[in-house]
Amino acid sequence: MKSRHWGLLLFLLVGIVKLPVEHRVYQHLSAEEVLPPRMEVGVMENLGQMGLAASLGGLRSMVASGLYLSAASAWDEKDWGSVDNRMGIATRLDPRYDGYWDNAANFMAYDAASWAREEPEFYTQQLYGHYVKRGIEILQQGLTYLPNSYRLHQNLGEVFSARPQPPDPKQAGEHFLLAFQNGALPVYERRAAYEFAKLANDPTSWKKGYTILQHHYAIGNKLPGVITNLKTLEQKLNIPLAQRIPDPMPPQSRR
């Protein structure tokens, strides 16, 4: 047998031997989140030529950056469809970067929705609601890739707290709490409690909020917002007078 035949045989052998090694390395690196998640075929079909070429050329991060810039220029022109489309591809190309999910959601839930509200010739409640809902969807999709991102929970809490009409304090509170549990600043734990205090009839959430605010109060964090909401929750939960805080109601509550 000639050398080139041996070479061909060795090439096939290397090809077969490498398969389990590739699988093992891929499993390890994916588990450690070193590799970007593989795109599903359904997602690829929506990526277009640019996204597909990027994913096959190893330039996902760079193309995602380019798409972000392109979305920003569409944002300048208030072309919300293009903004959503380009940010949609950018987030799928670089799904582990929470900044893209965060920005994509802000573009829809804040910028597009506010534009819809301020343009009398376009404004309808449905259009405003559509953009807010889209922003929420983007953040929820982002959380499927990054369930522990405090930034996405924080933003989702902000959106649920202020953007839908009417707002959803229950969801807002839950996401503020998750944001705090995943590393956000303590103000978000307090804000979770403030949201729970807004609920009309939810004793479980009230108790959760009461426990949080009691803790803040006990450690000396006697901010006007803490006192106001603690008093609200004391009333809602019918806390005995002896166990209520002695402070008077602040003149104007602040965070």
């Binding site: 070479g7 989140e33 593989r38 190893g58 330039l59 970067y97």
Partner: protein, 298 residues
């Protein structure tokens, strides 16, 4: 054949590698480094309208993208040019007329390409790190000034800490250098593949196109495998997927850049896994190249 002749000589391989570096440098391939410096500096100041965090993220993405392009060009084009250039210049005959085994010649050529690529990537990473460090300092100062203005001097420490955490996550960190290592490993695998192709290719163009196709397929090997291995794939589709998996390396194993760019720490074990995979490909493809080159008529 003299007594001093050795079948395998690291010194001889080193000599061939250094001469390969000289040969490639004379081809002006490293001029790309100057272009890279311009790209990085431009990327650092090209997006003033973006927030501080995004400006740093864009700088890193563009820098790593340029590093990858450099590595791919060196790995594919420079490697593809080596053997035909040596044949054209008659250097190959001069070398092989001496007691130099063909294995040493191939290893020397590959090592030369890897040395040039590694040195180029190190220079690029130093430039990228320096620009990123300078830019990070600038955007931090700008952001502090902007926050102070917004809060009229009375800045809540929590607000400042939150913004600074997001900016520093996109700033200079040791883990960034692992992105360059991952690009080097990917480039090394592609270079060994291009060398393998050039041992049986009839022209430089054939080597470049084939290596480029293998690179694209290599990035999509996992996707193709998953697509064709789905339950609804026919026998032919499954056979095709297996053939692709056997022929191409899975280059997506070296895509650590995305994680590094967003500031994710990469463990030593993960680095070892990547090095292990790269070593398997390089050793395997170089061994095949040596077999194919052994009896090649020159």
């Amino acid at each position: 054949m003299t007594d001093a002749y050795q079948r395998f000589s690291p010194a001889r391989i080193w000599t061939l590698a250094t001469s390969t570096v000289t040969q490639l440098v004379r081809m002006k391939i490293v001029a790309f480094l100057a272009v890279f410096c311009v790209i990085v500096v431009a990327a650092a100041f090209a997006f003033p309208g973006l927030d501080a965090e995004q400006q740093l993220k864009q700088l890193k993405s563009v820098s790593f993208g340029a590093q990858l392009v450099f590595a791919l060009i060196i790995a594919i084009v420079a490697t593809a040019l080596l053997l035909p250039k040596d044949v054209e210049d008659r250097t190959l005959y001069t070398i092989l007329a001496k007691p130099v085994p063909r294995v040493d010649y191939l290893l020397g050529k590959l090592l030369g390409v890897l040395m040039l690529m590694g040195a180029g990537l190190i220079v690029m990473q130093i430039v990228c790190s320096a620009v990123l460090w300078i830019r990070e300092g600038m955007v931090v100062s700008e952001t502090i000034a902007s926050i102070k203005e917004r809060y009229k001097g009375d800045v809540p420490p929590e607000a400042m800490a939150s913004v600074m955490t997001n900016i520093h996550a996109q700033g200079l960190a040791w883990s960034l250098h692992l992105g360059t290592l991952a690009i080097f490993l990917k480039g090394a695998v592609i270079a060994s593949l291009a060398l393998l192709i050039s041992t049986f290719a009839s022209s430089t163009l054939f080597t470049v196109i084939s290596a480029f196709c293998m690179t694209v397929l290599g990035h999509g090997e996992g996707l193709l495998r998953e697509y064709f291995m789905r339950g609804d794939a026919t026998l032919w589709q499954s056979a095709f997927s297996i053939a692709i998996a056997i022929i191409c390396p899975d280059l997506s194993l070296f895509e650590a850049v995305d994680a590094v760019v967003i500031g994710k720490a990469v463990s030593a074990t993960s680095v070892l896994y990547m090095v292990w995979a790269a070593a398997l490909y390089i050793i395997g493809y170089t061994a095949v190249a040596c077999f194919l080159f052994k009896d090649k008529e020159l």
